[in-house]
Symmetry: C2
């Protein structure tokens, strides 16, 4: 049905995951009448695995699970550790807390290094904790903590962890496609991604890039696993199959998107998100809005504080009711305090201009003093400047 | 494939036809494995014809042809007239000229009442011509002349023509859904529409609403017709069939859209286009751009003059190359002089804000002095005011 309040109202998905869907990939998903134990599918699956490896820029084994990103997080815990293993979680938001819950659910002995929401755990704090706890078997972190919009310095952290016996396990679910990640070079032992992020297709697939150090630790790890058994998955992947029935329609969509990303270059997809994030930060300044995570801003999503005295749900609700746009509220303890504008995946500058115009109208209607057009103008300026710089760089 | 120049670039269709497609209707079109000589299809087709009649707000017979709008224009000529019949064409643009070419191709004796591009033929001029030529059998006009963005006063014209023996034949291809049309009340004998306009589906279907006066004249009309034989089409339509094989996928999409338009109300779809057109005119003023048809502006499309000394193709090309947006150049003798921003059908305010931000960037890059954000701000202002007024009117 047409969405209509007073005027026509298109539905726009503007969240940091699920992200807007790529129409060509959706079309490819219509070809899902394929059986997953056929040569036709094996050929496709091998190509997808190879393309994913290329797009992630890694020599590590890359696996696909039919699960959400949390499933791959669980797989990294269940496959690499034994009961009571001591691990460190670097937590600076809701997804950091998920690592803590997950590791504890599996009976690990969790040392939490936490930073306040909007901030990041420092490499120095991690180095100190590792020095004080030499028995640590694993370090968990978010490359991009999308609940707050901040990022961790996984490069510096990786260089610290690689000098220890611990595995460095990185939730890069919103990091992939929004920041450079040198998986081998930086010592990232497990890197986790999800289909509904920069990969522009619906939720249902999770990805892992697994280092030799991780495979070795798996050999002696005793936590129970079955559906998420990565060694079984690797064996099957070598034959072009998944261990269990895979989400075939999503694999078809992913195959299409990966070909596109290869053609374009992952670094350009990252540059796109970073341009959008920078334009958003300038627009916020022009509109007198305060950023929530100004010290370590990522390019997956920008978290913005609601104006003083206002519940951010009011803004989120105005986006939905007045315009049909779905933007993200804060999560965890930030619910009601911030709202988040996403940049990862299938977002372009015109999307952002539209989001900012909506925001200007919403603020004005809510009685927040803003200069109409000022946010859009600031974003236009960033776009023009970055485009000119990119042209010079060619 | 992902479109990418320096940054991600979504393809956006922003022309006055084909117009942006409604996603739900596109989904409905996937059900096209239906045979057109089955009870299943007859039930659907009868519902579509009834809904189309309701949406057009007419008691006249409504027919669907598998053809572009031009096919329905031809049908109106071929079915209602005999060789050498004298007719009047009110022409104020490229589509007026199409009436002239078509009527002459069928051997009619055409009296052309023309107004300059951007202007409109006046009811007074038509009244004078009819008084001087009492033998005239038909008057042809565009409700909305989308080559220039201007509209004709079909209400006043209809009241003049209905007092004569002539048929009043209105190309409302971009008029339907952008302006009120009281088909019976205003004496519009044939009203023509097309699927790829306010109906939000791809091209391939044309519609006609046919008055009793027109059916009567058809009985003695001797021009040759076969595929476009409206009397044959009417006989079949009564049984829930089309005379020839119909474009079934488009009928399925149309069925979906018509249900939506019925729920929303055609008057709201019109109000939406009119709000967008007004916002565009204000934005142009704020950006120092001159409207091409300021005296009779329609809500299907707004034609804007290129800045002095600039070919409008440069602007159209920038939209496409820089942003992936397809906007319309001028047509006929206006090619290169104007560009056109469309409003009809599946366009919402956020689309317009995005178009205007693109336009601001393009003008700045081309060296035209503009204040960044000023056009978007002017459009936001119209949206806020109209929304408030609409809320008061509820």
């Amino acid at each position: 049905m047409l969405k209509f309040s007073m005027y026509l109202r298109k539905q726009r998905l503007l969240t940091p995951g699920p992200t807007p869907l790529h129409p060509r990939a959706l079309q490819a998903m219509m070809g899902a009448d394929v059986h997953h134990r056929t040569d036709e599918f094996r050929t496709l699956y091998l190509a997808v695995l190879a393309d994913l490896k290329e797009v992630l820029g890694t020599t590590h084994d890359v696996l696909i699970l039919t699960a959400s990103g949390t499933g791959a997080m669980e797989a990294s815990v269940a496959n690499c550790f034994s009961p009571n293993d001591r691990v460190i979680v670097c937590s600076a938001g809701k997804f950091g807390e998920r690592w803590v819950e997950l590791a504890r659910a599996f009976g690990l002995d969790v040392l939490v290094l936490s930073a306040p929401y909007g901030d990041a755990v420092t490499p120095a704090a991690l180095a100190a904790a590792l020095a004080a706890n030499p028995e640590v078997k694993g370090v968990f972190v978010q490359a991009s903590e999308s609940s707050t919009g901040s990022i961790h310095n996984v490069r510096a952290m990786g260089e610290i962890v690689r000098r220890t016996g611990a595995l460095f396990i990185v939730d890069a679910i919103t990091g992939i496609g929004t920041m450079p990640l040198d998986i081998h070079g930086w010592g990232l032992d497990i890197v986790i991604g999800g289909s509904q992020k920069a990969f522009m297709i619906p939720p249902g697939l999770a990805f892992l890039a697994v280092s030799n150090k991780a495979w070795t630790q798996m050999e002696t790890a005793r936590l129970p696993r079955y559906y998420f058994d990565l060694r079984r998955e690797r064996k099957n992947a070598a034959k072009g199959e998944s261990a269990w029935t895979p989400a075939t329609s999503l694999i078809l969509g992913l195959a299409d998107v990966l070909r596109s990303i290869k053609t374009m270059g992952m670094e350009k997809l990252i540059a796109n998100a970073q341009m959008l994030a920078e334009a958003t930060r300038h627009a916020c300044a022009a509109l007198g809005l305060e950023l929530f995570a100004p010290s370590h801003p990522g390019a997956a999503v920008t978290a913005i504080k609601a104006p003083r005295g206002m519940d951010s749900a009011v803004i989120v609700n105005e986006f939905r009711e007045r315009f049909g746009s779905v933007i993200a509220n804060g999560q965890g303890e930030m619910k009601g305090k911030i709202f988040r504008i996403a940049h990862l995946g299938y977002f372009d500058a015109v999307d952002l201009f539209g989001v900012l115009a909506q925001l200007e109208i919403i603020l004005e209607i809510l009685g927040v003093p803003v200069q109409r057009g000022a946010g859009v103008a600031a974003a236009e300026q960033v776009f023009i400047r970055q485009t000119a710089e990119a042209a010079l760089a060619v």
